[in-house]
């Protein structure tokens, strides 16, 4: 087996040192009747080339080369190539959670920078509120793509002395949409920042909060400190919340989280930075605005009065699954039919445009919807004529 670094002679030599006659001696603690005496029924050992080919086939069966208008919590943005170049370094890829700080300063400093950038993007959460058990939870932009009036909701929540939790699913929106600075806690998905959709995971969930709640917060935190010579260094901190110390009284029960994904997000934020994030967000805004306008010539675009970022809902006359089915023939994946989650929405569907969505693709998709509306209208007219005749 090509991953195993021992020759048969090495194994023999080790057995001899241990004083075992055969490898079976070492498995003697397992009761005989349970020991497996056959091969596992899993695929036979494959060559690297075979493995790559098997997954290439799966890739081809999985929408490779499709142009997609799907968002709804997983977004397709361009990923700068330096992300994979850097996270592929074995020192990041094959290290564990940075428990031994002296030989984990790279990971720890990166986490510290990540924490800083997320706080910058969400802006200082400074207003003090009394912690209460109840809270108000909103998402903005919400599932239908519209931006909530966080300030107004916050005022109501805080007047009633309840906490406001704001969730953000589309991180790129933070480039041009006001951050929810009135929130007490922000729960955010950062997948948009350089993480491939990867059929739904791994993504990068983030919780940000006011300083007063930090000791209740789960997860890994990197903190700045000094070594014995007074040099700046970083450590995992506030470990007394964690399960390996507090056991059943722990408020954090995580060993493995999403560190490498957070590193992707970190590199993405660093690459686009202060100006690029705004310009990127602006392109998303423009593409969605254009698409909504074009669709609006043929169908109703819902929630017209509310500001939106890169998603919007249209209501077609025909079942969106049927329209999407025809579009798929042209290698386009149409918007998400909302009846999957909201039966009351009938034929509404949720469309997303990012900086990667071309005008050509938008125009083609609009063409399909326009055609659908035309044929439904003429079918109706025919049946009216029949009745009249």
């Amino acid at each position: 087996m090509r991953y195993l670094p021992k020759s048969p002679a090495d194994r023999e030599a080790i057995l001899k040192v241990i004083g075992a006659r055969s490898i079976d001696d070492l498995f003697a603690p397992i009761p005989e009747e349970y020991r497996l005496k056959r091969d596992l029924k899993v695929p036979r050992q494959m060559a690297e080339s075979e493995i790559v080919e098997w997954f290439r086939e799966r890739s081809r069966e999985n929408g490779d080369g499709l142009c997609s208008f799907l968002g709804a919590g997983a977004y397709l943005h361009y990923r700068p190539v330096i992300i994979d170049a850097l996270i592929s370094r074995g020192e990041f890829l094959t290290a564990y959670t940075p428990y031994q700080a002296e030989i984990s300063q790279g990971t720890l400093q990166a986490i510290f920078e990540f924490q800083t950038m997320i706080c910058e993007l969400l802006e200082e959460l400074e207003r003090m509120v009394t912690p209460k058990t109840a809270c108000v939870l909103i998402q903005s932009p919400n599932f239908f793509g519209t931006i909530e009036d966080v300030a107004a909701i916050a005022e109501i929540a805080h007047r009633k002395n309840v906490l406001l939790v704001v969730s953000i699913a589309e991180a790129v929106s933070l480039g041009i949409v006001e951050p929810p600075r009135q929130a007490d806690i922000v729960a955010m998905e950062a997948q948009s920042f350089g993480v491939p959709p990867s059929f739904g995971g791994p993504f990068c969930g983030i919780i940000a909060t006011r300083e007063q709640f930090v000791r209740q917060m789960p997860g890994r935190l990197a903190g700045q400190t000094v070594d014995r010579e007074g040099r700046r260094g970083f450590v995992l901190t506030l470990a007394t919340r964690e399960q390996h110390i507090r056991r059943e009284k722990a408020t954090s029960n995580i060993c493995t989280n999403q560190a490498l994904v957070a590193l992707m997000v970190n590199i993405f934020m660093t690459t686009y930075g202060k100006v690029g994030l705004r310009e990127l967000a602006k392109q998303n805004l423009a593409k969605a605005a254009y698409a909504a306008q074009q669709f609006g010539k043929h169908v109703k675009v819902l929630f017209p009065g509310s500001p939106r970022f890169n998603e919007f809902v249209i209501a077609t006359s025909e079942d969106p699954y049927a329209i999407n089915g025809r579009m798929l023939g042209n290698k386009i994946v149409g918007g998400l039919p909302l009846k999957k989650f909201y039966p009351e929405f009938g034929n509404a569907s949720l469309w997303c445009c990012t900086e990667l969505t071309t005008r050509t693709a938008i125009d083609t998709a609009v063409g399909f919807v326009a055609e659908s509306e035309r044929s439904i209208r003429s079918a109706k007219e025919e049946s009216v004529e029949e009745v009249a005749g």
Binding site: Y3, I14, I18, I23, L26, I30, R35, L36, D39, L40, V42, I51, F55, S59, R60, E61, N62, G63, D64, G73, L86, R89, F92, T94, Y96, E102, G106, T107, F112, E113, T116, M117, E120, L121, I176, P196, F199, G201, P202, T225, D227, T237, L238, H244, R247, E248, N257, L260, T270, G273, L277, Q283, L285, A286, K287, A289, P307, L328, L336, I362
Partner: protein, 497 residues
């Protein structure tokens, strides 16, 4: 002092500040293509919701980013550099082909909501992996949704609770051996159960008579790690299972130590009702500095109605799809379908091994742990003489007499070019040294490790200060963790703010 350190040599590494300290207006590492739709006025579209400023987000060039993260990376230790014997973490080789296949276009860019007929590749990967893991564990069904081990435990206990509630027999307690991972009691508490400790016997195993005495109709399940955190196989596992089942309790297995069992024995065959796996341990997906992980939960048939939704199914036309219509499901435990990218890597690992490779891997992992045990026995105290499986636990009893604790030995090991073992765990061994070499270590690497550990034991006798003030070869010396926790500095702030 460095004469006996054979594995590592000091070399120059680059200093590097925080990225914010390199930022200045006008530098950029990005370029967008020209917009092919009309420009918009953000103020018009967003009104009061328009953001005008992005604070202190950095402005740097591409070469600076490459150097920044490359420099940072060189401050880390990693499996790619050498042995990483963190007990319970299974730091094995992370094959590179896994990374290549996870990045294929249709796999990396597959959207979780794209139509099922355009998702057959991803579903086939999930289906094939599920079948392999069911076969490896000897169970009947599986959910791939949980994001890592502790999350798998949570999912498992939610199913345990749903099972008991469906029989109108809600129970209050979870039994947990004192050798368990801290995640087990934390998980039980989060699901709303009371935790009752189960004492280990002098051989490091569950004391069956104690279990018998503590078992009653209030116990929902026993959470058992097998092999346990002493690296010991619970030899009376069949009795344990029988005692639980006789009173309607379930046997949950924490599968963190599955690297000792794959291809040699199947938990489903020895009475386990449900268990989680850690794909980032046993199945080689990279730890990435602390994630992402993946913690599938395999179950016996009678728990199937409670699986998280949606469940992968084969439709009548032979295509694969998701079933959301599951009345007794515990619901979703994760957005979409779990950490799919990890499924791809784990399956690639299983394919590269095949049945013979998986078995050889397990044998080598156990062989390696026993080689290290043999090499260090007599130098370090072995608190339990029971046979070791994939990891071996020593204590610092001998060295502590000189004032050298397990953490001191660990820090000194860094100077010898190794990552430390797990320190001070399991809690039932005072001053524990928990060593898990995995199958990925050659005899040469282990010989260097044994030599290093013996040399440190000698230093503890003859050169005490060198050990107590270690590490000496790292960029920073021991860091002040107390100060970090007392007044947490969790983010950079510009000077003067």
């Amino acid at each position: 002092m460095t004469g006996k350190i054979r594995k590592a040599t000091r070399h120059v590494n680059q200093n590097e500040g925080l990225i914010f300290e390199k930022s200045s207006p006008g530098k950029a590492a990005w370029k967008l293509p020209p917009l092919d739709v009309p420009e918009v006025d953000a103020g018009n579209l967003l009104g009061a919701s328009e953001r005008k400023d992005l604070g202190h987000m950095p402005e740097v060039s591409e070469i600076e980013i490459i150097r920044h993260f490359t420099r940072l990376s060189t401050w880390n230790y990693a499996i790619d550099l050498g042995m990483y014997p963190l007990g319970s973490c299974t730091m094995k080789y992370n094959p590179r082909v896994n990374e290549v296949v996870a990045r294929l276009e249709g796999i990396a860019n597959g959207h979780p909501y794209q139509p099922e007929r355009a998702s057959q590749g991803a579903l086939r990967i999930m289906k094939t992996l599920s079948e392999c893991l069911i076969e490896i564990t000897g169970m009947d069904a599986i959910t791939l949704q949980p994001a890592a081990g502790a999350h798998g435990e949570l999912t498992g206990l939610l199913m345990v609770r749903a099972h008991h509630e469906s029989r109108n027999s809600p129970r209050k307690k979870i039994l947990i051996p004192d050798s368990a991972h801290g995640t087990n009691p934390a998980t039980a508490a989060m699901v709303g159960y009371a935790v009752e400790n189960l004492k280990s016997n002098s051989r490091g195993m569950v004391e069956v008579s104690a279990l018998e005495a503590q078992m009653n109709e209030d116990v929902a399940a026993l959470m058992l790690t097998n092999p346990n955190t002493l690296g010991v196989f619970e030899q009376e596992i069949h009795k344990i299972a029988d005692i639980l089942h006789a009173k309607g309790g379930l046997l949950y297995m924490d599968g963190a130590n599955m690297n000792a069992l794959v291809g040699k024995v199947r938990p489903g065959d020895f009475g386990v009702d449900l268990m989680h796996l850690n794909l980032h341990k046993t199945f080689s997906t990279p730890h990435g500095g602390g994630g992402p992980g993946s913690g599938p939960v395999a179950i016996r048939k009678f728990l199937e109605p409670f699986l998280p939704r949606p469940v992968l199914t084969t439709k009548s036309d032979g295509t694969l799809g998701f079933d959301y219509d599951r009345a007794q499901s515990v619901g979703r435990v994760r957005s979409f379908y779990g950490n799919f990218g990890m499924f791809v890597r784990a399956l690639a690992y299983i394919m590269a091994n095949g049945p013979d490779g998986l078995r050889q891997t397990t044998e080598d992992a156990v062989l390696n742990a026993n080689y290290i045990r043999k090499g260090l026995e007599g130098t370090y105290d072995l608190p339990y003489s029971t046979p070791s499986m994939h990891e071996v636990i020593f204590s610092d009893r001998v060295q502590a007499k000189r004032g050298v604790k397990t953490m001191d030995v660990a820090k000194r090991l860094i100077d010898y070019g190794f990552h430390p073992y797990t320190t001070a765990f399991p809690l039932i061994v005072p001053g524990a040294l928990m060593i898990e070499p995995t199958e990925s270590e050659s005899k040469e690497e282990m010989d260097l490790f044994i030599e290093a550990m013996k040399s440190i034991a000698e230093e503890a006798e003859n050169d005490l200060q060198t050990v107590l003030s270690a590490p000496h070869s790292t960029r920073v010396s021991r860091l002040d963790e107390t100060a970090a926790a007392r007044k947490p500095v969790l983010r950079w702030k510009p000077e003067g703010s």
